[in-house]
Symmetry: D2
Subunit: 282 residues, 4 copies
Amino acid sequence: MSRFTFLILCPDQVGIIAKTTAFLHQRKGNIVYLDQYVDPEAQMFFMRLECDGIGLSSDQLRSEFNEALAIPFQMQWRMDSDENLPKMALFVSKYDHCLYDILGRHAAGELQVEIPFIISNHPDLAPVAEQFGIPYHHIPVTKDTKPEAEAAQLALLEAHKIDLIVLARYMQIVSPKLIDRYPNRIINIHHSFLPAFPGAKPYHSAYARGVKIIGATSHYVTEDLDAGPIIEQDTTQVSHIHSVTDFIRKGRDLEKIVLSRAIRQHLEGKTMVYDNKTVIFH
Amino acid sequence: MSRFTFLILCPDQVGIIAKTTAFLHQRKGNIVYLDQYVDPEAQMFFMRLECDGIGLSSDQLRSEFNEALAIPFQMQWRMDSDENLPKMALFVSKYDHCLYDILGRHAAGELQVEIPFIISNHPDLAPVAEQFGIPYHHIPVTKDTKPEAEAAQLALLEAHKIDLIVLARYMQIVSPKLIDRYPNRIINIHHSFLPAFPGAKPYHSAYARGVKIIGATSHYVTEDLDAGPIIEQDTTQVSHIHSVTDFIRKGRDLEKIVLSRAIRQHLEGKTMVYDNKTVIFH
Amino acid sequence: MSRFTFLILCPDQVGIIAKTTAFLHQRKGNIVYLDQYVDPEAQMFFMRLECDGIGLSSDQLRSEFNEALAIPFQMQWRMDSDENLPKMALFVSKYDHCLYDILGRHAAGELQVEIPFIISNHPDLAPVAEQFGIPYHHIPVTKDTKPEAEAAQLALLEAHKIDLIVLARYMQIVSPKLIDRYPNRIINIHHSFLPAFPGAKPYHSAYARGVKIIGATSHYVTEDLDAGPIIEQDTTQVSHIHSVTDFIRKGRDLEKIVLSRAIRQHLEGKTMVYDNKTVIFH
Amino acid sequence: MSRFTFLILCPDQVGIIAKTTAFLHQRKGNIVYLDQYVDPEAQMFFMRLECDGIGLSSDQLRSEFNEALAIPFQMQWRMDSDENLPKMALFVSKYDHCLYDILGRHAAGELQVEIPFIISNHPDLAPVAEQFGIPYHHIPVTKDTKPEAEAAQLALLEAHKIDLIVLARYMQIVSPKLIDRYPNRIINIHHSFLPAFPGAKPYHSAYARGVKIIGATSHYVTEDLDAGPIIEQDTTQVSHIHSVTDFIRKGRDLEKIVLSRAIRQHLEGKTMVYDNKTVIFH
């Protein structure tokens, strides 16, 4: 029997937890995880719930849940079963450290995901893809070829039924069309503790400002550059002895960890987005 | 109307969440917080739940809860209402930094607790107590006077109906009688990342070993020295340039923060203990 | 005999270390600490040096050093002896947590400094000052009385020969005259990881942005608001479950630690400023 | 012209810095880095110094330095030039995460070192080595074959003139002969914050104890198991919700970072060892 994971978002009301758990209980479900959160300003209710032991098909359960709970409580909701491995596409440019890290983790069994291909606007990292046996599509992006490039990207994404796109230091702005098509399903890593130092060359700006901490931020991509919902952030101490090169070196470790944590949380269905902010269940 | 906070511990079974939330829902309760955890090895179920809007008295609610849920599910449970401020006694010796920190936080309104008195085996910190207007009881402890000292301590604790005892660098071993009387209600701060460096002079031992991190640990006191359930731990980096004196100075900040976090979590009813480990709800 | 501490800043040239150490060696000095740093972009040389065993008076040593080294190497330099305790003035408004922390640390012997008085634009914290036996000057600041208030502040600072001013959550902008008079000797604590969230209400802005880390920054005050040389920064993790109130509570601990570290580093003569950045020796 | 890096250790005496810097200055050397440290208990002096611009050969400079300074000051010392890339051998068993991390960093240009080969007591990771084009020697170790295995290891190490051995989760105890032959040149990663949880299965022990932090430690290997000089340590927070599997997953990131930092510091000549402790220059 499958394990079903529910993500539920609705206006806060009395009785949601009681009725949802009763619904599952009546169907012989055993709740193995329940966490909920109420946004006190928006009065919105968020819940994540994992349930074992229900003998229904996914479709049947979805249909009953919809009628009994989702409609009456005006829920935005999603139910995943653990039957299928999700599919993740990687977008890269020339920097290889995040790519090595993700592929190394994947090879080491840390990420429960299929990686059907890598897309890059440069040919440089093809050997890395080859090393790990993953198809590499070089799709150059110039001012003139942007529409064709996007079309080529979209065609690949759709042909492979991609669930999640990861921009692993992809140094291009992603097109609004792609963002619309994959809302809250494109994760970017930005190499600063946003909202400080958005845009290009954040390590150089951090060095110029003389900060004593540097950071990295993973977030869902929206049309506002580096302003989407933040998934994970972390920082590390620096000092006057560190050059820009040192910032970059130390930052690489942050980028790798902050990006891989965000990927894992997304893949495990632990992220929800509301009002440009994330709820991250543990 | 009061807010009621439930802490529930019982063998894991199907239906606990559903039945508990239904019970509260039937009594017009609005669940504003629910977090639960199942220990996968012990198969024990832990839940913390806050509920508004129930028009019953504490006693009536306790009685109905007991019959309907606690007995059938074999729950160990506790229900607190937010009507009464808990009472905390401080035990100190000669070190003043944790005492200053707790009293400063208390004066600044950070800790929702009453501090009826401070007990010390030395007279040294009486002026600090006086500065903050808190009674200070000097109860010397020697080998010979130990039983009388304990009796005097217990008399004070009971006379003031103390809920929580905090050993804020109290350099004495607490008697088994006190520990029995206040199970999981005595919090100690130990100045190392336990289980490393239990016992006396951990900073000196850490220095001798050449560690690159030092830490602090707050834990409930049990009869095994420095081996009780850990509530909070934190660490900070040190290097070869730091002397034992530097370790002690840097450690003081850790001790203050780790102890004050543990106190707050206990006071907010977010700690549960099972099998010498804590469950700390967020 | 005194211990002398030198802070030296000059254009980088071959031979500075060799000649400086030879100079001290010839006068029977034993160098107990030497750390240096070259800013590779500005080609500026920074050195901190502690020296024991020299039998000269401060004045005599200063005069000889000036002629032999400072003039030829175009040094900006400072030499302190450990004979006098520096003097620190505290400026506060209504928030008491940093004040309690500094006074608690001072009382516990952590800060080698004299605190002749506290200045505030509000009367609220007078009881805290009284608790610790430190004079409290209530100098209200309004649009109209600003010049008089500044004059009163300056008069107090000069009468007491203050070396360092600490703005311990002083919610006023300090006048340019004061900044000019005490360059790199006014330390402020700002409750964000600058350059993110400068100005008012940074915790509210951080909450609105949905960040996963919050921070605090101590810096020297310059005429550009929250843009002076950064001395210390630290951050802590937050999550969606934390309200603005939680941000403020968690931030208070950061503010206290980041401010007290900056104060200590300044008092120990371990900070240098160049080009709006700090060099912090260990 | 080469950059020369000196590491110097000797009994603390007046004049070492002055005479050493004068020696280099007389030979047209420009000191680009100098950091020193005096162990106040052992009264030992440690210095690291980088120097450009000297027109002598390494041998000539070594010889002059020896006569002028090393002999009179009883120095233990080492001088490296930046002409040759050091050589590092990796020892692994079956865990691949540290191996992927090191090889990924090496491929990404983060580690200035040659990796002539990998040794393992198991065949499992041969494909990883092959992926990165590095020779893999499978040398099984059993009770009976231990002497032959060691001889085979030593033969490889000597044939390739290995400078540094890294035990990247090599689950075997290294022979005293190897340790003797490569003193302070074998780096191990242990998956706990030593001295807590030495030996086997530290994550399981940490889980059983209910700690709230886990850690990793890189250290030079000595004959006392997990008791050699510590190079780097780091920790991360865990909570009751984390299973042993979570500890292992979170710990992997610590292991990778703590090991790679230790490797880099060693390769850059920033580590010194005295009395089973390290001095790590920045």
